[in-house]
């Protein structure tokens, strides 16, 4: 069991609310990702759940029990740190075994659990090494191994992949996904990378300035962003935004349209525009255009589109795909 619930959680640092009244329920076994720009409070929120920081007001419930005043060592959670935070003076074996030793488990049980974790994480050959003798990916695995041997109620990941190079990041992303599949334990994962969030999460919590901007599945966030902030934050390249007459005639202050939902024509369309640059990715082409009276937009075209800088074209948003927002930046209509 490992459901986690936050009730009106608030955290002040020196009179300033870093977390401003967050309500949230993470179901048992769910993979939840906290995402947001830096400074949005996502790591703080994770540390509040871990017990490494005190909440200023509100409640943290684990399996329905209020743990707001319980120390981190008593909450039954495991955490993987951004820096891995391995014990530099201990071998891999002792790093993994440390929590079990602290829990005074019998030697043979410890031995067995360490062996099992090392097996899962391909660390069996490295058990006697010190952390400094390992590569980044291996250290990452040790950190995860240290977390799993405790059989925690939930895993907390604090930007665990940000110190790895791009290729390794994709691989570890898959490994953490597999781990979640096989352990079926609750995981809370903090990242600033919306691609990581979209690919891994059952549920995404988008945070902005210490408040929850939206909670939902990846596709919900993509298809129905509840506000401009989420609309802009989720999706790559970012959503195109237009204000003025083209928004007004659709009954909104602001409209948004994703780059992949814009049609291009050389002869006719809603918005006349000038091509600034075409980025050829092979599978896709991102055409950056300057729309007259609106400003820069990105258009995503399948395959190899032959646009040249300076060329005049017309771009037209696909009507059903348009997101409409009111003056407060909140979603209008369905």
């Amino acid at each position: 069991m490992g459901s986690i619930e936050l009730v009106k959680v608030r955290k002040d640092f020196g009179g300033f609310a870093v977390i401003n009244g967050v309500d949230l329920k993470v179901e048992d076994g769910e993979f939840t990702v906290f995402v947001g720009p830096s400074g949005c409070g996502k790591s703080t929120l994770l540390r509040l759940i871990a017990g490494l920081e005190d909440i200023s007001s509100g409640q943290v419930l684990i399996d329905g029990k209020d743990v707001s005043r319980v120390g981190p060592s008593q909450r039954g959670l495991s955490m993987v740190f951004q820096s891995y935070a391995l014990y530099p003076h201990m071998s891999v074996r002792n790093n993994i075994a440390f929590a079990l030793k602290m829990a005074k488990q019998p030697k043979d049980v410890i031995e067995q659990k360490v062996k099992k974790a090392a097996g899962i994480l391909n660390l069996t050959d490295y058990l006697e090494r010190k952390p400094r003798q390992l590569s980044g990916g291996q250290r990452q695995r040790v950190a995860i191994g240290r977390a799993i041997v405790r059989e925690p109620k939930a895993f907390l990941f604090d930007e665990p992949l940000s110190n790895l190079d791009a290729a390794l990041r994709v691989q570890m992303r898959l490994e953490i996904g597999d781990l979640h599949q096989s352990l079926k334990t609750t995981m809370i994962y903090v990242t600033h990378d919306q691609v990581e969030a979209m690919t891994m999460a059952d549920k995404i919590v988008v945070l902005n300035k210490g408040e929850v901007a939206q909670i939902g599945s990846p596709l919900e966030l993509y298809n129905r962003p509840q506000n401009l902030f989420v609309a802009r934050f989720i999706g790559s390249p970012t959503m195109n935004i237009a204000t003025g007459p083209s928004a007004a005639k659709r009954g909104a202050t602001t409209i948004g349209i994703r780059p992949e939902h814009v049609d291009v024509s050389a002869t006719a369309g809603e918005w006349p525009a000038k091509v600034r640059l075409a980025e050829h990715l092979g599978s896709d082409t991102y055409v950056h255009v300057e729309v007259d009276d609106i400003g820069p937009m990105t258009v995503r075209l399948g395959g190899e589109a032959p646009n040249q800088p300076g060329q005049r074209i017309f771009v037209t948003p696909q009507e059903p795909r348009i997101h409409r927002f009111d003056q407060q930046g909140l979603r209008v209509g369905g």
Binding site: L52, G71, S78, M79, A85, Y87, P88, H89, M102, R150
Partner: protein
């Protein structure tokens, strides 16, 4: 890549540096050499630098006449003991200031530093009376306590600067792993900070070993360390240079070696982390 100097300039600079270094070191070298001379050779003019009859009789003499080892033993007990106790009190304090700082931590650190700056002589009479009242004059516990207190600010400061370099993540990881505070300090912090703790201890031992106000004034024989023992040679009745040299060599050699080992930490400790 450092700039390349001409070989000539480099040789010149080397010669100059070695001469300066030698001159600064010379009194110590001279003491060392003299300690192996006979008293006659020690006084001879012109001085005999290397070509004299080498003898170790002074060392034997120093011991038999003045019971050198009981003073040396006091020095060791006092400087090591006082600072080991210092570590027991200081490590938790430094942990607290490095990893659980409050708004007042900075002021607290600076206040500790300022207690170090109180000249001992300022409160000499008061301390003397307190010691007399408690029966601590010429007592190892008493003088050890003084040395402990005198070093505590420096000890905490040094430990603090070392602890600050340990990523707090690792201690938090230990907390997440279920370690209690005591276990966190014993199994995680201390092993990681061993080099820092060791050099702190070394520097503090050096400072205690050489402390020469309280040790001269509050001890006579029973608890007297080497500072007091050497001072007894200043009495004018006999000029036993060779024996003085032997005693001095014995008194400074161990600390010189320790000091050479921890020069870098010395800078940090004595400047309270202001110069690294």
């Amino acid at each position: 890549m450092a700039l390349q100097q001409t070989v000539g300039k480099r040789v010149g600079m080397t010669a100059l540096a070695w001469i300066v270094g030698f001159l600064i070191f010379f009194p110590i070298l001279w003491t060392f050499l003299t300690s192996f001379k006979s008293e006659l050779d020690a006084f001879s003019l012109p001085p005999k630098f290397l070509f004299f009859h080498w003898t170790t009789e002074n060392y034997a003499e120093v011991q038999s006449r003045s019971d050198y080892f009981s003073f040396a033993w006091n020095s060791i007990i006092l400087s090591v003991g006082a600072n080991l106790v210092g570590l027991i009190v200081g490590v938790p304090a430094a942990w607290s200031m490095a990893f659980a700082p409050t708004k007042r931590t900075k002021d607290l650190l600076l206040w500790m530093l300022s207690t170090k700056m109180m000249p001992g002589v300022g409160v000499f009479a008061a301390v003397y009376f307190i010691f007399q009242y408690l029966g601590l004059l010429d007592n190892r516990i008493g003088i050890g306590f003084l040395l402990f207190m005198a070093n505590l600010p420096i000890l905490i400061w040094m430990l603090y600067t070392y602890f600050k370099e340990i990523p707090v993540d690792i201690l938090e990881a230990a907390r997440m792993d279920g370690a209690s505070l005591v276990n966190e300090i014993i199994y995680v912090l201390t092993p990681m900070a061993i080099p820092g703790i060791a050099s702190t201890l070394l520097l503090c031992i050096i400072l205690s070993w050489n402390e020469a106000f309280w040790t001269l004034n509050l001890t006579t024989s029973h608890a007297a360390p080497l500072t007091a023992f050497i001072a007894s040679y200043s009495s004018p009745e006999g000029l036993f240079w060779a024996k003085l040299s032997a005693a001095s060599t014995l008194a400074i050699a161990p600390i010189l070696v320790l000091g050479w080992f921890c020069q870098k930490q010395l800078v940090r400790g004595l400047t309270f982390g202001a110069v690294k």
